[in-house]
C-alpha cells in the first residue's frame, strides 16, 4: 500500500468483545489506526472520535458520567450520544455507527 492511512470505508470493523464494555464504561479503540472512544450509556453503545475537539487530548483518559465525557485536559464536556460539545453544540466529535454481532462490537468509519 502506498500513501497514508486510509479510513474511508463502509466496512464494519471489529473493535472489542461486547461483554468487555460495562454499562457506564468507556474504552479506547483504534480501528484502522483511528483513535476512537467507545462507551455504553443506558444499554446502548456509542463511538466517538477519541481526540478532543479542542486541542486533541486523549478523551479515554477523561471521565464519563450519564453519557457526558469530560476531557481530562481542560474539562470540555461532550455528549457521547451525539458528539456535541455541551457549551457550543456547533463544535462536536465525530460520531461513528456501532453494532453488536455474535458477541463482538463493530464500528463503521463511514
Amino acid at each position: 500500500m502506498q500513501g497514508g492511512l486510509i479510513v474511508a470505508t463502509t466496512e464494519w470493523i471489529p473493535v472489542m468483545d461486547d461483554a468487555s464494555l460495562p454499562e457506564g464504561g468507556m474504552q479506547s479503540a483504534y480501528p484502522r489506526g483511528l483513535n476512537v472512544v467507545i462507551a455504553r450509556v443506558d444499554g446502548t453503545v456509542y463511538a466517538v472520535s477519541g481526540a478532543c475537539a479542542h486541542m486533541g487530548c486523549p478523551l479515554f483518559t477523561g471521565s464519563l458520567a450519564a453519557g457526558i465525557l469530560t476531557c481530562p485536559c481542560h474539562d470540555w464536556r461532550f455528549d457521547v450520544r451525539t458528539g456535541e460539545f455541551l457549551d457550543a453544540p456547533e463544535v462536536r466529535l465525530t460520531v461513528y455507527p456501532v453494532r453488536s454481532e455474535n458477541g463482538k462490537l463493530f464500528i463503521n468509519l463511514g
Partner: protein, 111 residues
C-alpha cells in the same frame, strides 16, 4: 518545542474551533502574534494556554472558562462585542478590529 512552533500549533487547533463558532483570528497580525506568544508562555508556566487578559484564580472551574479559545463560555458577551475579551478572535465579518471596544460583561445585556 520552541515558542514559535508552539504558537503555530495553538493556531492550528484554535482556528478549527473558532471557525465553527463564527469567529476568526484577528487580522491585526502584531496583536495575534503577541497574544499567541503570551499564551505559550502561560502554558509553559501553568500547563494550560489561558487567556492573557483575564485573571486566573485558585478555582479550577473558573479557570477552565478562561482556556483559549474561551468563546463558548462567554458567548453572549463576546458576540455583543464581536470579539473575545483579549481580541485574539473576532467575528468573521470584522475587517477593522480597532473599531471594536472592550465592553465589560456587566454592561452587556444577556440575550
Amino acid at each position: 518545542m520552541t515558542v514559535e512552533t508552539r504558537k503555530q500549533t495553538l493556531h492550528y487547533f484554535f482556528a478549527k474551533v473558532v471557525d465553527r463558532l463564527g469567529y476568526k483570528f484577528t487580522p491585526d497580525e502584531d496583536l495575534r502574534d503577541f497574544l499567541l506568544e503570551q499564551e505559550v508562555l502561560l502554558e509553559q508556566k501553568h500547563g494550560i494556554p489561558f487567556c492573557p487578559c483575564q485573571p486566573i484564580t485558585r478555582e479550577r472551574a473558573h479557570n477552565m472558562t478562561l482556556v483559549c479559545p474561551c468563546i463558548p463560555f462567554h458567548r453572549a458577551h463576546y458576540d455583543a462585542m464581536k470579539r473575545c475579551w483579549c481580541g485574539l478572535f473576532v467575528h468573521k465579518d470584522v475587517t477593522d478590529p480597532d473599531s471594536l471596544p472592550q465592553i465589560p460583561a456587566s454592561e452587556v445585556k444577556r440575550g
